[in-house]
Structure formats: structure tokens, C-alpha cells
């Protein structure tokens, strides 16, 4: 039985061990930041920063920087700065400003990816940037990855209560003397870093899946903010590890016996978890719309 679930070498293969470690670190950071992305309705901002990572990642290859993490992080941080500078508070205008930054960034990405493929005459770079490279992760990058992740986590930990209250109601937060705008800017930095880390593991385009999926799943399962964060982190780590396991096993799968892409499998598991979390809640959600639902709680 075990021989089929964990194919030979799973626990000894260095690439697998690195993937498991990196995947777990990134999943935890994505979850802790992503909870706020979901409750602040900033999924589009997260997606934009991830897509801008494409620009940074492709530029870094062009410049000969072998580690795309720096490219991802730089582009996401610049994107976050631009979005904050445009500083539009009203939602429709904010989405418009974000979309314009996104469009310009992706235009550059198109150019850089084209130059990457023509100069190195390989499409591998594009695939790595867009869809990740967990099994060929360069261990030399590990310290930088952990350091950037620590910065993101520290920002969230320090601003946790202020960020939570600002996300619930900016008015309530401002009345308590919380610098709402500054807290929002600190959160954007954490978001940019989390997205850059996710881009290294499952690719710039898929980074939002790790950022949004586990927190959205967690919000169905718990009604406490701290617990939601822990649940999201656990869900993210589990999904990532399961994806890695499946990818490893998939070398023995049809059709080509060549392994399935790990990023696809991770995202598929995240999606499956989300769908599963919906099921038991489906009925409760409809009940909740009744006006007296809250008072008749046992």
C-alpha cells in the first residue's frame, strides 16, 4: 500500500526534500498574508502583483540574474508602490488603477519573455517564470526566500490587530488612532513579498491560487480570525505537500510516464479543498439569509 502512495525515493530524493521545505514555507506565508487579501477583497491586487512578477522574473533572466526571486520581488514591490501611489480609495477606481498598472506590466513581460526565448533559444524560461519550478529550486536561493518570508510575516504579526480592525471598518480603526493608510501600505509590502515567494514555487501566474485558495477555504471552516489564519496555513501546506507527492508519483502515470507538472497538481488540490469546504456549509449559508438566524443559534 505504502509503496504505491509514496513511490520509491520520495523520502530520500534531495529535490523532493527541498520542494517540501520551500513549499511549506511559502504556503504558510501565503496563507497568513492571504487571509487579509480575502477579507479586504484585494484578490485582484494580489493577482496583479503576481502577474507583474512575470515582468520582473523575465527581466531578471534577461539581465543574467539566475535567481528569478529577486526579479519577482522587485517587480511586485514596484507594482505595490505604484498602486499605493495612485492611492485611490474608491473600489471601482482602485480596480481601474490596478488594471492599468497590470496592463503596462504585462506588456513589458511580453517583450522580456520574447527576448528571453530568442536569446536563450529555449521556452523553458517562460514556463518556469509563468508556472513555477519547485523541483528545480536552487538551494542557494533558500536563505533569501526565508529572509523575505520572515519580513512578510513580521509585517503581518506587528500590524495584526490594526490590520484586522482597518479591514473590518476603516472608520472604527481611524477613531482609535490607527494610521489606516500606513497599515494598508505595510500590508501591500507583505502582499508583494508573499506573491513573489509564491511565484518562485508555483509560478507567477498561479501565485494567486496559493494566496487566495487556502484562506478562502479556511473562512468556510472557522469564524475566528486567528484560527482562520492557522487553518489557512495548514490547508496550504497540506495542499502543497499533496501536490508534490502526486507530482512525484505521476512519473509512473499515463500518458507519457514523464511526470505531471507539480504546479498544476498543487493548484488542483487547493481547488479540491475549496470545493470540499463548500459542501457542508452550503446548507448553512442559505439558512443564514433568514433574518433571525443569528439569534436562534443554539
Amino acid at each position: 500500500m505504502t509503496g504505491q502512495l509514496f513511490e520509491p525515493g520520495f523520502f530520500t530524493n534531495d529535490a523532493v526534500q527541498t520542494a517540501l521545505l520551500v513549499g511549506a514555507v511559502v504556503a504558510v506565508i501565503s496563507a497568513c498574508v492571504g487571509i487579509f487579501t480575502v477579507i479586504r477583497s484585494q484578490a485582484f491586487t494580489g493577482e496583479t502583483l503576481g502577474d507583474l512578477g512575470t515582468t520582473g522574473g523575465s527581466a531578471s533572466y534577461l539581465l543574467g540574474v539566475s535567481n528569478p526571486l529577486w526579479g519577482f520581488a522587485t517587480a511586485a514591490l514596484i507594482g505595490a508602490g505604484l498602486i499605493e501611489l495612485l492611492g485611490v480609495r474608491r473600489r471601482p477606481d482602485r480596480d481601474l488603477a490596478t488594471g492599468i498598472v497590470l496592463g503596462a506590466g504585462l506588456g513589458l513581460a511580453a517583450l522580456f519573455l520574447y527576448l528571453d526565448t530568442t536569446s536563450s533559444s529555449t521556452t523553458g524560461v517562460s514556463i518556469t517564470i509563468l508556472f513555477g519550478s519547485l523541483f528545480v529550486f536552487n538551494t542557494a536561493t533558500l536563505p533569501a526566500l526565508i529572509a523575505l518570508g520572515a519580513v512578510a510575516l513580521a509585517l503581518i504579526a506587528v500590524s495584526y490587530r490594526m490590520l484586522l480592525l482597518s479591514s473590518i471598518s476603516p472608520e472604527l480603526a481611524a477613531a482609535r488612532g490607527i494610521p489606516v493608510r500606513l497599515v494598508g501600505a505595510a500590508y501591500l509590502v507583505a502582499l508583494a513579498l508573499a506573491v513573489a515567494l509564491a511565484a518562485v514555487t508555483i509560478g507567477a501566474v498561479l501565485s494567486t491560487a496559493l494566496l487566495i485558495g487556502p484562506p478562502a477555504t479556511a473562512l468556510r471552516l472557522t469564524k475566528r480570525p486567528g484560527l482562520a489564519m492557522l487553518t489557512a496555513a495548514a490547508t496550504g501546506v497540506l495542499a502543497t505537500w499533496l501536490g508534490i507527492l502526486l507530482a512525484y508519483d505521476s512519473y509512473y502515470w499515463p500518458p507519457v510516464q514523464h511526470g505531471w507538472p507539480v504546479s498544476f497538481l498543487i493548484v488542483a488540490v487547493i481547488f479540491a479543498f475549496y470545493v470540499l469546504a463548500q459542501l457542508p456549509v452550503l446548507r448553512r449559508r442559505t439558512d443564514r439569509r433568514a433574518p433571525v438566524a443569528a439569534t436562534t443559534n443554539p
Partner: protein
């Protein structure tokens, strides 16, 4: 006992850019006193509360809280803003929101503490919210959410409580309950409470003092001093009648006003809404 009022506002002016919303507004509120700010939509009720809180600058006048000029994020002031909309998916129980009133402005992650939990519990029972303490905030009814927000504002032991339209969108029974709760809290905790509302009637029985806002100015005093045809007519700059129908007071625009006087005429006519509410 100190005789310094908890809140004293003198000759306040405020606005947005060139638009002056408030000019020459004065009022005081002492401990245990319930003061109602009454005015139609756009009369400047929210602006007045936000200026008192320090969330918005004033262009003139003096605001003293506890006899001192207030700063931003003053712990002496509790605030319940208008229209707090919380998504049903927000992972936040009523008790979590109350706890954030205690230390939401502090850095770091809260550690579980017995003292904190006991304080939250005490506040929840003070506003009769223990029944839904563990419900998601986004699922609470309007009246329930109002109670929880009041507990959130009260837990840091303010001296002054500002409530912006706490009765908006409440059904009549919840309205009654929230009014009684606010009056009881003002009395028991010796708080100065400021409530804004567009309809004075639900609050007539409990208010100690009224601040009637119209055309950027305010008439302050007891209901008997302020809600009179002559006082309100001079405030609006056009004739209004004050009618007493059963236990209710209705302010109605009287004679047709000068058509060039659109601003005041508009505000005065708006008071007809009170009349519509009666039927």
C-alpha cells in the same frame, strides 16, 4: 465631583474645501448626560461627530474633551460610526470585535488572557449581547450589531461616547431596545453620550439636551427650549411649524418659502419626512 463638562464645543466651524458645512456650532455634554444631534441628511451631523473625534479638521472654534483639546485617537472618546457593513464571511465573532475595542490599536498578536476575556464578557453582558457573542458579526441583525459596536466602543472606558445614527435601519422594537440601552449606559457609567439622528421622536423620552442642526448652524438646549416654532424658524431662515401629534413632535415647513431661498427651503421641506413617518 468636577463640574467640567466632558465635552464642550464652542463656535465650531468645519467644511470640505470651500463648502462650509458647520459654522458657529456650540454645545456641551456633562457626565451622565444624553445629547441628541438632530438634523436632516446633509445637515452636518456626521461632520460634527468626526470633528469632535479629530478625524476631520475644524476651520475654527474650540473642542474640549474633559477640559482639554483632543488629539487623534483619543482613548477618552468611544465612537460608533454610521453604516458599518461587515461581510458574512468575515471570520470574526461578536466577542472578537468587542476585544478589538480594548487593544485593536496595539501592535503584535494578542495573547489569550483571563483579564481580557473577563472584560469582554462583562461588556457583552452590559449590552445584552451574550446570546450572540459567538455568532459571526456579519450575520447579526442591525440591532444586535449596534449593541456589539457599542460594547466595542465602551470597553476602553471612554468618558464620551459618540453614536452616529445608531437607530438608522432598525425595526421599531430594536430601535426601542437600543434607545433604552444607551440611556441606561449613560446613567450607569456616567458617560456623556452624543447621538445623531434624523428623527428626534424615538429619543424624546431619554434625551437631556438637543442640538438641532440646520443650515450649518445649531440651536442647543432642552427640547422645550429648542423645538419651538420661533427658534427653528430663525435657524432655518424660513417659517416652520412644530406640531405635537400624540407623543410625537413633527417639524413641518410652514408657508411656501421664497423660491430663491432653495437651500433652506429644501432642508425645511425635508422635515416633512417626519410627518410621512407617522402615517
Amino acid at each position: 465631583m468636577s463640574v467640567t463638562p466632558k465635552l464642550s464645543v464652542t463656535g465650531l466651524q468645519a467644511g470640505y474645501g470651500d463648502v462650509r458645512v458647520l459654522w458657529d456650532v456650540s454645545l456641551t455634554a456633562a457626565a451622565g448626560e444624553l445629547v441628541c444631534i438632530i438634523g436632516s441628511n446633509g445637515a452636518g451631523k456626521t461632520t460634527l461627530l468626526r470633528v469632535i473625534l479629530g478625524l476631520q479638521p475644524s476651520s475654527g472654534g474650540i473642542v474640549l474633551v474633559n477640559g482639554r483639546p483632543r488629539g487623534r485617537g483619543n482613548a477618552a472618546i468611544g465612537y460608533v460610526p454610521q453604516k458599518v457593513l461587515i461581510d458574512p464571511d468575515m471570520p470574526l465573532r461578536a466577542r472578537d470585535l468587542v476585544a478589538l475595542g480594548l487593544d485593536g490599536q496595539r501592535p503584535g498578536i494578542p495573547l489569550p488572557s483571563r483579564r481580557r476575556r473577563a472584560l469582554v464578557e462583562e461588556m457583552l453582558s452590559a449590552v445584552d449581547a451574550t446570546d450572540f457573542a459567538d455568532a459571526r458579526v456579519g450575520n447579526l441583525s442591525g440591532g444586535e450589531l449596534q449593541r456589539v459596536l457599542i460594547a466595542h466602543a465602551l470597553i476602553s472606558r471612554p468618558k464620551l461616547l459618540l453614536l452616529d445614527e445608531p437607530l438608522a435601519n432598525l425595526d421599531i422594537r430594536s430601535e426601542q431596545e437600543v434607545v433604552e440601552l444607551i440611556a441606561r449606559i449613560a446613567r450607569e457609567q456616567q458617560l456623556a453620550v452624543l447621538i445623531s439622528a434624523h428623527d428626534m421622536n424615538p429619543l424624546l423620552q431619554v434625551m437631556d439636551r438637543i442640538v438641532y442642526l440646520a443650515a450649518g448652524r445649531a440651536a442647543s438646549g432642552t427640547v422645550g427650549e429648542v423645538v419651538r416654532s420661533d427658534v427653528l424658524s430663525s435657524l432655518y431662515g424660513s417659517h416652520v411649524d412644530v406640531l405635537h401629534v400624540h407623543d410625537r413632535v413633527v417639524v413641518v415647513a410652514g408657508r411656501a418659502t421664497d423660491s430663491s431661498d432653495t437651500d433652506d427651503g429644501g432642508s425645511a421641506q425635508h422635515e416633512n419626512l417626519d410627518f410621512v413617518r407617522l402615517s
